[in-house]
Symmetry: C2
Subunit: 280 residues, 2 copies
Amino acid sequence: MQEEHAGALLIVGGSEERHGDMQVLSKFVELCGGPDSAIVVLTAATSVPDKIWAIYDAAFAELGVSNRAAIHIGNRREADDADAVAQILRADGIFISGGEQQRLLASIGGSKVHETMHRAFRERGACIGGTSAGASAISRHMMAYGTKDMLPNKNSAQLDVGLGFLQHVVIDQHFSERHRLARLLSAVAQDPDVIGLGIDEDTAVVIRDRGWLEVVGTGAVTILDGRRMTSNFDEANPHQQLELIDVRLHLLPAGSHYNIGRTADAPAALRNVLALVTEI
Amino acid sequence: MQEEHAGALLIVGGSEERHGDMQVLSKFVELCGGPDSAIVVLTAATSVPDKIWAIYDAAFAELGVSNRAAIHIGNRREADDADAVAQILRADGIFISGGEQQRLLASIGGSKVHETMHRAFRERGACIGGTSAGASAISRHMMAYGTKDMLPNKNSAQLDVGLGFLQHVVIDQHFSERHRLARLLSAVAQDPDVIGLGIDEDTAVVIRDRGWLEVVGTGAVTILDGRRMTSNFDEANPHQQLELIDVRLHLLPAGSHYNIGRTADAPAALRNVLALVTEI
């Protein structure tokens, strides 16, 4: 049965601690099966893969993980490489580093590595982690680019297609630290059926099993549900400020955890959202 | 009948333009009755009243208002001064400057000047304007103090009693510029029956007649409705991060205007909020 049970997702808002306390990376190791598990770090999002790998190499070593390796992919040919595919199929956990989400998708989107990550996740129950750009890329809807606008306008967020481990969310990272509410509101206004998840630094959303969500680390996750929203998005000019009415906001700090499959402990407005967010 | 019709409120998020375009101050002059109206500026919130008056003296002069004067009140004795009372009773508009809202309330709260402002507003239809600290003080619920916390905790906002021109709102100013969502969420969590109004700089919320709301200037107003919210406020420790579920957020940029008394053009979730917000 293990082979038919999807793994866990650990979606990190960037800047997670890489030594010392490491609540977020510890959780990743735990979800992979502990220090004896095989962990690979995918550096395809970054232009400085060796530097990034050195950081995670040291962090996972500190966490007692000896079976750890990097997969460096710089182009689409490397994304179909048989060795990379074999490494992913053997891994208990795949951690996607930060960098730029568009660089990541440009190299691995639709490749054998991408396909194999899905097999590892769905058939073998491997844990998929992603931080910063690697977090943005986790869902099918990906914020490819966002502005620093203080208020949302029609062009504050540009969506594209991500890796597809989640179906109904759009993720933003470094959320409270970089004041990204405006761009996530703009993304949700653009596609109101998609739930916005804004994840803070050193904070992870863990999803395992449908209906199971936990927040780990030191910040919070902001959930924006625009499904009942009224907005002027369709008629607005490109840089016109958006009017948004009836966005449902949920703020879950680290320590929040819900399992809507097992209990009915979540308020209805959240239960309803979590059913969508956790559809893996 | 004019004598029994309440005036308009113009609630400014601070840093409104004081020369040139002056959308916000122009609107104030218009609501007072135009350049021929009598306007007084109440400087009781600031420790530098002469400096603040010089700024508004020049601004209102540029707007063609010749009948303009300052009312400087530095203590409670001055707040019962007969000349100040007479000035307020003759004014078409009373503009409350920025500074510190606690200083303002400490000197005029419950005084003859305060009482006379209510008479001028309710019986004579005078316009009441307030910017920054003067905006925070407009409502009965006043954010006396707020922290710069990135995420809301139990102590991010401290409420006190304001001037009472509005009944069901708590106002914050410099809202988007100073990233004050967290402290306004904390205020709403503390008193979920009170609607949070976060007003940006150079932006005003105009309320005239029940159900009539307009946003003027260059920013937006963020409305937080926590009446259906579930939170951990009551059981949280003093500095514990708050979990907030089902806050309804409405973002109205400058140019938005609603008159729920006349038409049913507002979406239900907003109409419902505006009925409370505009109860004057």
